[in-house]
Amino acid sequence: MMELLMSIVIGVLTACGVLMLLRARTFAVMLGLTMLSYAVNLFIFVSGGLTAGKGAVLGRSDIYSDPLPQALVLTAIVIGFAMTAFLVILAIRARADLGNDHVDGNSGKSQEDSA
């Protein structure tokens, strides 16, 4: 029943990520995006099904885990890093230029209500 556990983990990570993505402060959004990346990476990864103890290296065993999702996730991790880094720097720049860390760049008193 490892699958059930894994789905719960993915679900909770997604929910936490989404919740933080919707916050008004840039730092929370960064954490949300990072969290969402974990969830998405795991989600793509498990699309090949769960395999325990058998890597996708030829000659090591008879059954292999699915290599394709792994290759996809490997690039996704690196791209995810680039994206997070860009967001972080954008937030820093916005803070430096605008003097606050609200996602809309205003001091953040009223904008939230319009959403």
Partner: protein
């Protein structure tokens, strides 16, 4: 191949126009004219073969999967148009030399004109419909540039915009029609589709195809009700009108009809649509031409009327109608171009185009007047001139058709009515401009134009007469071959003689001439009647329509896009929920048939730890450092999950990325406000919490369904071919550097771009130095703890060795360029953390941006190298070698590619972190307890 060069000549001419800028005006014109002249010289040797019935082709495959070939063909029809385009083009170049004033930019004009010539040649020489469409749109764009040449005039800007909107919209309809033709017939090559008439016409979609193509042709050729753009395009310089609006641009639509005549014509729908459109355009144009006071306006409406005449001929169901249509294309181009040139000369020499002011010019410019009178007589259809011959043929055809059934007799009657108006407006052109008293209120005293400005007119008028007197001799065989191309069969016998005896067409001509003169003499009453209409100009209505459209669009955009980022995210997530949730509702059972893995205590503990850390991150998000610690626990547990479920490569990558990310977020903590204010209201929290839970449930269920269902995967292909095809046993790495190498190349490029974007964002950022943390505690004075410095220095060589090892074993065992690059980056970052930028920078003289560039270049070049061996991009090569002492080793081109990946990853990671770290180091006010934040 010659065809290719002919097509390229105007392009060279276009560049020449720009290069010749420093020369005198005459030399500029000469240099530009050289290229169409060369094209003509290249064309001449091909003419005999084409006139003998041969079709010359040239082409090569370009994107065969899309059916897009580069393909050129020269048959009778293309030859006729090519001659018109190049010939009249040359005359217009000469004419424009004298027309443009010293204030006008000559290079710009010639460059646009030659660009247009290229586009036009492209249309008529294309052997592939898609390619033809490309040039078709290019004519719209270049004509936009030409019409708006005097861009300081609002009329020019509006007219150009209108022409572009109408013709480009028609172009899109045409594209749709062409794509449908390609779908139905399986090809875009003219030589392949033209014979398949029956297949297309019996297809259910044929009416749609026909209407779309006709829409394209009618907008381009200014057919009613799309004719309104042409009079407004008269804001263009007159050489442009002489070229575009007599012989070329507006004939493109007619050309398309003629080109696709064998494929599309012959059905009831074709006859009705084309005939009625042509007929109404013929009448509308002829009627309104009479009432224009602007000379160019008169000519524009007359052009509309003649285009309608040609369209009408193409819609008639007699075989000779097409021949008459082609004949009239030639004749109209010749006399209308010379008339536009007259208008330009008059405008140039009198400063006005208003026929109420310019009168009696016969006394000032008798030569020009004579030439213009001959040309307008041809326009009116006076015998012994070319216009008479094709008009006679037109009358004959209207008498023989039966398109409208029992009402078919209407067509010759209405044709005669239109001809009466044509004679009347031609008479007005002659009488009003050259006679009718003296000029009124002109700013200049008119005189003859410069000698060479008149030469193009003289040539064209001479052609009017020559064709009118010796039609068979001059264009007989060209007409014959063009007709063969249009009908896809030899036309029935016809005679181009001037005299066919006393018959009905001659009677119609006489009625038109006499009626036209009478109408002109009694024009006062008609003008009074016309003045009774409250005319609003088409251009104002059109502009108002466009502005309304724009306003409405802006309004709805503003409603959706209010500037709140949170709201965009919310809408996006709602859309995601709808899209991802809907398929789940259709799934009968969430649990699939695949055998499940049993629980195992370690995993349960790990999962609980992960869940607790994730929830803690959310709860502690305002205590930022704690939240950061918590999220790194999550990341660590995710890496462990990868280990547990057989993905060692992922675990290694995730772990090293985790380190870099946490360092980055730590730096972010430093730059962002240290204290976080509570922001969201309880209502919003509830809303967000509900949405987040819903998405979590959907994604979790989706993951569960996916994991428990069996699905056919393409992975077995990779597993089977990794060793034999890619030379490695680590299938994940082989996929990255070999099977899907192109994706990886794209990915490292994105990484490089992101890093450079970050570099750009960081330049010029105000330096920011906090001296205390959020609770007022001073930063430690011990900036670089000794212990950390010593350990990190000792670790560096070890880490580098590990990364080299990981890099080389990557092809066969877990590892590879990504992981090795991240390990190197982490080791270097540790140096920065332990010793500071000031210490590392002088010791490490590497430009990280150069590193990225070298990495991407290396990967690309490795891919390109396979071209040298005639293999597709990024085909990898490997072989085994025997080395003394070491034994058998494998060399693979994939290693070079992976090295590129390695360098890019190292460069990008370090570029980001080192530059961010750099902002903090110097000038820190260590002893200043007052916290200062940038404003």
């Amino acid at each position: 191949m010659t065809l290719f060069w002919i097509l390229l000549m105007p392009l060279f001419g276009c560049l020449m126009a720009l290069a010749a800028r420093p020369w005198s005006r005459s030399y500029q014109a000469l240099a530009v004219a050289l290229f169409p002249a060369l094209a003509l010289a290249l064309l001449v040797p091909l003419i005999p073969a084409v006139l003998a019935g041969e079709v010359i082709r040239y082409g090569f495959t370009w994107l065969p999967l899309l059916g897009l070939n580069f393909s050129l063909q020269l048959d009778g029809l293309s030859l006729l148009f090519t001659l018109l385009i190049l010939g009249i083009g040359l005359l217009v170049i000469l004419y424009a030399r004298y027309y443009l004033s010293a204030r006008d930019s000559m290079p710009r004009f010639y460059a646009f004109l030659l660009l247009f010539m290229l586009a036009m040649l492209g249309i008529v020489l294309s052997g592939n419909l898609l390619q033809m469409w490309f040039f078709w749109e290019l004519t719209s764009i270049s004509s936009f540039l030409l019409i708006s040449y005097w861009s300081h005039q609002p009329d020019a800007r509006k007219g150009a915009r209108m022409a572009l909107t109408v013709t480009a919209a028609g172009g899109l309809a045409l594209l749709a029609g062409i794509l449908l033709i390609g779908q139905i017939l399986g090809s875009y090559e003219l030589s392949e589709i033209l014979p398949q008439t029956a297949t297309l016409q019996q297809h259910a979609v044929y009416p749609v195809v026909l209407l779309l193509v006709l829409l394209g042709a009618f907008t381009k050729s200014a057919q009613f009700p799309f004719h309104f753009w042409l009079p407004n395009a008269m804001a263009a310089p007159t050489p442009v009108s002489a070229y575009l609006h007599s012989a070329t641009m507006v004939k493109a639509g007619i050309f398309l009809l003629a080109r696709l005549y064998p494929l599309l014509s012959g059905t009831e729908l074709w006859f009705l649509t084309v005939t009625l459109t042509g007929l109404s355009t013929l009448l509308v144009g002829a009627y309104f031409a009479l009432f224009q006071h602007d000379i160019k306006g008169l000519l524009a409406y007359s052009t509309i009327s003649h285009l309608g005449l040609i369209t009408l001929l193409l819609g008639l169901d007699t075989d000779l109608a097409a021949v008459a249509a082609i004949f009239h294309i030639i004749n109209h181009a010749i006399f209308k171009a010379s008339l536009f040139m007259t208008a330009g000369i008059i405008d140039h020499e009198t400063g006005s185009r208003d026929m109420r002011k310019i009168n009696g010019l016969w006394g000032f410019m008798p030569v020009t007047a004579t030439l213009a009178m001959v040309a307008s007589a041809s326009m009116a259809g006076v015998p012994l001139l070319n216009g008479f011959l094709s008009k006679e043929m037109f009358f004959t055809q209207t008498l023989h058709q039966g398109v409208l059934g029992s009402l078919s007799w209407l067509i010759p009657v209405l044709a005669t009515v239109a001809a009466i108006f044509a004679v009347a407006y031609s008479a007005r052109f002659i009488h009003d401009v050259f006679f009718n008293g003296q000029p009124i209120g002109l700013t200049k005293t008119p005189h003859e134009p410069p000698r060479y400005m008149r030469v193009p007119m003289e040539i064209l008028v001479a052609l009017c007469v020559l064709v009118g007197v010796f039609p068979e001799l001059i264009i007989g065989s060209l007409l014959q071959q063009a007709a063969v191309a249009v009908l896809a069969a030899p036309p029935p016998a016809y005679s181009l003689a001037i005299w066919h005896g006393f018959n009905v067409p001659l009677l119609m001509s006489v009625v038109a001439l006499v009626g036209g003169i009478l109408l002109y003499i009694n024009r006062k009453a008609l003008f009074m009647f016309q003045a009774g209409f409250n005319e609003t100009k088409a251009i104002y209505r059109f502009e108002a329509f466009i502005q309304r459209l724009v306003r409405r669009c802006r309004h709805s955009i503003e409603k959706i896009e209010n500037g709140s980022f949170q709201r965009y995210i919310l809408l996006l997530l709602l859309a995601l929920l709808a899209l991802a949730g809907a398929p789940l509702l259709e799934l009968q059972q969430l649990r699939g048939q695949r055998a499940a893995l049993p629980f195992d205590a370690m995993v349960v503990v790990g999962a609980i730890l992960l869940l607790v850390a994730a929830v803690a991150t959310v709860l502690l998000v305002r205590q930022r450092l704690l939240a950061l610690v918590m999220i790194s626990v999550v990341g660590l547990m995710v890496s462990l999950a990868f280990v547990r479920f057989s993905a060692p490569d992922l675990a290694l990558t995730q772990l090293s990325v985790e380190v870099v990310t946490v360092v980055l977020l730590m730096l972010a903590l430093y730059f962002l406000p240290h204290k976080s204010v509570k922001q969201s209201s309880s209502g919003h929290l509830v809303r967000d919490f509900t949405l987040a839970s819903a998405i979590g449930v959907v994604v979790g269920s989706l993951a569960y369904a996916m994991m428990t269902h069996d699905a056919a995967s393409i992975s077995s292909y990779f597993l089977q071919n990794a060793k034999s095809g890619g030379g490695g046993t680590n299938v994940v790495n082989v996929i990255l550097v070999d099977f899907r190498g192109f994706d990886t190349l794209g990915e490292i490029t994105v990484l490089g771009i992101a890093a450079l974007g970050i570099l750009k964002l960081l330049t010029g950022i105000p330096r920011f130095m906090a001296s205390a943390d959020g609770e007022g505690r001073l930063w430690s004075k011990d900036r670089h703890p000794l212990l950390l410095a010593v350990i990190s220095q000792a670790l560096l060589p070890l880490a580098l060795i590990v990364s080299v090892y990981i890099f080389f074993r990557g092809h066969n065992l877990p590892g590879g360029g990504f992981v090795a690059g991240l390990i190197t980056a982490v080791a270097m970052i540790l140096q920065y953390v332990a010793k500071g930028v000031d210490w590392v920078k002088p010791r490490l003289k590497v430009e990280y941006s150069t590193l990225i560039a070298v990495g991407i270049l290396l990967a690309t070049v490795t891919g390109l190298a396979s071209w040298l061996f005639d293999r597709p991009f990024l085909t990898s090569w490997f072989d085994y070698f025997e080395l003394p002492l070491i034994g058998q080793i494998e060399l693979a081109s994939a290693i070079a590619f992976d090295l590129g990946v390695y360098l890019t990853v190292v460069g990008a990671s370090l570029l980001i972190l080192a530059n961010l770290g750099k902002i903090t180091t110097r000038y820190r006010p260590v002893h200043n307890p007052v916290q200062k934040e940038p404003s």
